[in-house]
Symmetry: D2
Subunit: 476 residues, 4 copies
């Protein structure tokens, strides 16, 4: 551990962008409902939050930096009157932490106002951007969501559905959208289905959400997922499935199961927690080891650790405690504290580790520094042996579909063999789950998933690295 960043970001996490939520409840004001939906999706983005609503005539919006609970209060929820609405939690990506990037993105167009909340990443954003600029559309941000909203606002066709389709025809990459117009709510998913998006039913209306956990929170009944390539329109007349694009090769991001989604969400019919449990059980079958205790790296690897323990017969226990209040702090340890070995996120439970052979289950290794630090922590708490088990396959290829992961150079599994990684992290043994094992644990066919980060086979063409736009803008 050599840099400030590593000290505070104890886990060099995979990061993804954004949660979206939408509601259509005739006769009710949906802003508060959306608030609670976003609350349940907070894990998908903590940088900014926003809600836009329509009462059939006027679209009103409030968005700001911070957690949903920080952004909204009674005073700013009150004026958000309207029975249709969308909301968004944005993930914080480095260097773009500005209010101007917060979503939803709202535009006026010839057809009236349109607001978009987006989860995903366009792989041809640079081309689309250039097209818009060439058409004479000045852009206020460097966000995909502005591109999408401008393309829909200025799209071809007399109806919103046609305009959304005209966007889909040109767009490449991952997008799960909630779109708000004056009198309808749209749920849109790219033809590969990279990111989840589902539909729920209330007694008197409808909701859409990135994950089903948000349906459970607002006590909506899960209806179904939005299909890849589908446009779902919800309006006074009900719910309509409209033709978007024909579905293409299915490419659900398998890391939704492994890491991103909340364990209580159901994706493609599978409870995330159970899939994680099965990943652990499969890992135990593929890579057994003699040991005294199985622990998980909190929080996302806990279910896999339980699965490993049950399958292996080695007792499960907790060995690492995560500070529950790791909020965003801008305070960094200084050199003195760093040299002193300050540990912000994880402390050990020495009495559970002392003298034991420990299986430490984690869900992934990105750069490797965090895992090494965890192994060291376990040893200094008295662990006799540390056997690291990873409930996914080695990450060898970066993601261009929205996971803010790392470059080739940063991915330790791209540079080093498993044995070299084992030495790097000081583990007694190290084993990864096989790609086949991962797929098997999900109970779904391999063709259901994007596995590009393991295999290097990308489901969409990636634009040749475009010359970066020569001129930049920075909104403070």
């Amino acid at each position: 551990m050599t840099t400030a960043e590593e000290a505070t970001v104890c886990r060099d996490e995979l990061r993804e962008s954004c949660g979206v939520f939408g509601a259509f409840v005739p006769g009710a004001d949906v802003a508060r409902l959306i608030f609670f939906g976003l609350f349940a999706l907070q894990h998908r983005g903590q940088e900014s939050a926003g809600i836009a609503v329509s009462d059939g005539r006027v679209v009103r919006m409030h968005k700001a930096m911070g957690l949903v609970s920080q952004v909204f209060n009674e005073e700013n929820l009150r004026p958000l009157v309207g029975h249709i609405g969308i909301g968004h939690n944005r993930y914080s990506t480095k260097g773009s932490s500005r209010l101007i990037n917060a979503q939803p993105f709202l535009l006026e167009s010839l057809l009236g106002p349109v607001a978009v909340a987006h989860n995903g990443n366009l792989t041809n954003a640079a081309s689309l951007r250039r097209q818009l600029l060439q058409k004479g559309v000045g852009l206020t941000t460097s966000c995909d969501s502005e591109i999408i909203t401008q393309m829909i606002a200025g799209g071809v066709g007399d109806t919103w559905t046609e305009r959304i389709r005209s966007f889909m025809v040109q767009a490449q990459g991952a997008y799960s959208l909630a779109v708000l117009t004056r009198d309808a709510l749209y749920a849109v998913r790219d033809p590969h289905g990279f990111r989840p998006l589902c539909l729920g039913k209330l007694p008197d209306g409808w909701v859409i959400a990135s994950e089903s956990c948000a349906l459970a929170t607002v006590n909506a009944t899960f209806v179904r997922e939005i299909e890849p390539g589908e446009i779902v329109r919800i309006d006074e007349q009900g719910v309509w499935s409209e033709e978007g694009l024909p579905p293409r090769e299915r490419a659900l991001c398998i890391f939704e199961f492994i890491y991103f989604a909340r364990p209580d969400s159901i994706i493609s019919g599978k409870l995330v927690h159970q899939v994680r449990y099965q990943l652990g059980a499969q890992l135990a079958r593929e890579h057994p080891v003699e040991a005294d205790v199985v622990i998980g790296v909190p929080d996302s690897a806990i279910p896999a650790a339980i699965g490993y323990a049950h399958e292996s017969g080695i007792p499960y226990n907790e060995g690492l405690i995560k500070n529950r209040y790791i909020a965003r702090t801008f305070i960094q340890p200084d050199d003195r504290l760093r040299r002193a070995g300050i540990a912000l996120k994880l402390n050990t439970l020495p009495a559970n580790l002392q003298g034991k052979r420990v299986v430490a289950v984690d869900d992934s290794i990105v750069r490797g520094n965090t895992t090494g630090r965890i192994v060291d922590l376990l040893r200094s708490a008295g662990a006799r042996e540390v056997h690291v088990r990873i409930s996914s396959a080695p990450l060898c290829h970066p993601c261009f579909m929205g996971v803010d992961m790392a470059t080739y150079d940063e991915l330790i599994a791209h540079r080093l063999s498993v044995e070299e990684i084992r030495r790097h992290i000081h583990a007694d043994t190290l084993a990864y789950l096989s790609v086949e094992g991962m797929v098997k644990a999900t109970g779904l066919p391999a063709s259901h998933f994007c596995r590009a980060c393991f295999t290097g086979v990308y489901p969409v063409e990636r634009e040749p690295e475009q010359a970066k736009l020569a001129f930049e803008m920075v909104h403070q």
Copy 2:
């Protein structure tokens, strides 16, 4: 006085929008200089403030709600590095008090970033807006400044000057602009020259400003005004006058002299304070009266009152004191306090008024309520007679070129004769300066000015009232 608004807004003021400032100082960071320029132009707008700067490569911007001194601090000035920049103070117009409306407005375009700070009002904004929407440009606000920036960003031509000109060709109405691009600063003025805009010289650079008082503050030498229809480009090579549009019928807003501008500004070669003094002197010649003291309604009518006093030989003194700390307060008197006659802005100086025949000079009467209230105040302070003298002609016609004045119905001089107004305000006598007298006091030809609010003869065609866009957007 019957409404809450009147209680706090003791003077139903003419209101205008915005001050702009720009600087080009090779080798220096101009943000701080612009800060002080905006500080000197604070009287032109108190709602929001913003600064955008370019270092030749990246454009950076910060803007927020509030006074310049509230918006900027060392922390947010520091990252604003760059030797070219523009700044803006925005006037608060009802119902649009949102950060999203703050200026400068910054866009990325094919030619790079472009930021615009605008003072004025387009009379064909609705048409231009529709043109943009039809072209497929989604709009984020209802502000003219966004229209202008999008039209420049997506304008015709390979150079910024051509694109600015393509905007000018289509635009109608008042606009004094500061435009920032990657490597140049532009000063642009509509062909009528409605709003002031001037050029100043620093030892090592150039500045542009809405009023010359801002040049004095930063100790720049006044060079000249930007000509109507002119585009001035300032870049590494120096200052270039570029062809914009041929000047049209000159139409400087005469209320810059009467009310808006700071008294220490020089416009069209005339010191505003001296013009106001002459307005008062002319008023004394046109409408003499026997009296014991001449007072002015603070602050803008003070110089006219001094002029009236000197010309008439009646002693000048102060009779009304204005609270210097009338900042924006959101606290309104409740009914009880209003009935009790709370007086937020103006108190009298009874000992200076007691038993006296008072000439009260004011610069204008819009709705009439404030003037009536002032007359009542003077009487209750003991004034024996109150002779109201107005240093401008009766306001009979609303302004469409940027002065947020009133509708026809609200303009008291549109509805009532001078004698009726006199009765309405309870004055012993009431007299307005003649249009000719006003012009004479300025020392400039009548053809120099827009006098539409007095005469109803508008220098530009006004768009037939367009059907309001059916759909609205509200950003909280």
Copy 3:
């Protein structure tokens, strides 16, 4: 569930007040170290945070409402120079959520400045308060911490130790204090030792903390606990144990083990996580049941659930997921959402519960509503049977030593028998751990603990309920 409060506070939790931290590191600035210490103690209080430091001459302090990470930033940490310091996290108790109540509490006295950070509750606060008022000391708050600081500041004796002792002689109840003076740091614990307080060693200095988890975070070595009745003075000369009061009947709050403390803290030589595991194991021995899965109510009951599972041989798994981002939100569900059954904190994992006989382990039942709601949730997720097991004895008596629990009337176990509670919460079976079992699980003698909430035998006399002071003050 009938009230708004219950809807959001899904667990009617036991609540306790405050975490304290102190540091003495010659030659270093300790504010940042204290920041990270408070960070690790955030679970003990989330309402406000504060740090006071001394450089041997001047005491400087900053405190504000919010989490440690919200209260402090580089800008306000920087001026906190000094090698001695204390910090405090305050728990939010209803109706007193004001900055004025934040700690540390800092006073000037004849001996110089003195600041106090306090965890606990004085049982004779009303008497002490009256004594101070009678002596002519005006009080600014209704907080114990002001009473303590004024009593020390105006105490008898020429040294701080004497003055602290003079406070201890008069005070009754629970207090673990960090006291800062110009040139020393004091750790003080009441003679019963109700609340934990421990001492740690850095290579170049000393720290004190409410819990040892904070020592681990800053990589300090655990030295020992502060003894009941002890005053520990830390100054340039080193660490000195000074006579406070002779220890009295030991009365450590057993709920530190059951619920309050972080699982990675060591109290009285026992790792909290292991004690919780043993509580679960003992519970399995006392109250076995045939079942398919053991789950814990997150977060505090998880270790007990693992212990129950291992002892009983029934598999452990997760069945309830807690929203990790339950920050303070002031948004309440409205009636509509409440009727719709919105669930803010806990969602179920249906696939893990479906058709199963479930043992649900929780750590306590206070009012009973939350437990009933959890049982209902489990059933609606498909649980065939729900067997509730509580890892503590029935709570029949309120606490007066600092746990903000409930009144006699509110304590369900005071009003109802176990069978009646079972019916109230709709469980198939319900069982509590015995008091003896609890003690046994800790591995410590019964005489070590305060068990008043189970037995009604209080270790300190409680003041007869004094007439409330007739006049109140409210600082907004």
Copy 4:
């Protein structure tokens, strides 16, 4: 002009502390009324504002940093229910700009809550402070107002009046107080009457205020001034004059007339504006000069300039314009801008000065730098001659009764002769008004005033400079 401070603080002003306001209106909530009273007294203090109210049972308070209009909004005014209240504007003195110093100061005592708002300065504060510390009262601030409140809260006697009197017996120096208890409002003035304080009548209640301008604002009728040494009690039974201390040598601060008070206030029966006019007229008689125009340095010297002009027959005009929006800015010009001669507060009106012999009237010279700068500004605007006339006598002695002026060394008139000062400020001539002339202009006897800053004869003994307390506290 050589320092940053001088650049922004263009006038090295005399500064004084604080405005107080109180109201008693049975059956009404007075917080809003007090808000508008403080609004009218904003010129006496801009650092912080606060209001405390009582409903006969509970005292509630809100205070914060900033202008009255920034501190209060509907949300924090609403809970301030009660028919009795006091408010305070605090002047910002260097280094003490902290919320903790904001007033009112509120304490609980044996008799119930008591809040104090204070204008003035105790000359024996150090002794009183030591007495309190010796009695065992710990102090939270270094403010006089805390000393006063603690002395009243812990004072001798069974009634508030007795306790206030026991404070008065011990206190030396200047204090005009508004005191709030559970059921009464007190107005208290020191026996010398250093600072003004007056009583006003509403149709249904009573108000007290530092200056009568605040009575006018809330449309209260001026009743009388509080007498030196008097305690006025206002309660349900009406207004009671109670014995405080016998009045002593009268010592009204003459600078209230010259500079501090608003021109529309009446003090000791004299309208401040008229006194200033007479000061100017007397100055013209004492120090005539041949000239073309008389100007005043805005804002406080304007009335004196008008008086000088009328008496001398030389025309009055405006020559300097003050930026109306000089709010607190933390942005300082950097070296570059300072060298460039940036002028933040005052600009000239060249056309009014060009080629003229100018009499520039100012109210005082403290350090001399500002006056020199103004003379230079006038010359560079074309003034042919500059004759400086000061409407007060030379300031040779510092003030210890509350005017934050300067030390002996800083007072230019203590170090230099009038001729030397003239050279220092580059004036053609310089003349001060005589002490006798000042007194004469007020129309009051010399014995009415404290003239210590001119004569060095202090009305109260000053404590020998006490050893500063060895230990300091800093609240951020």
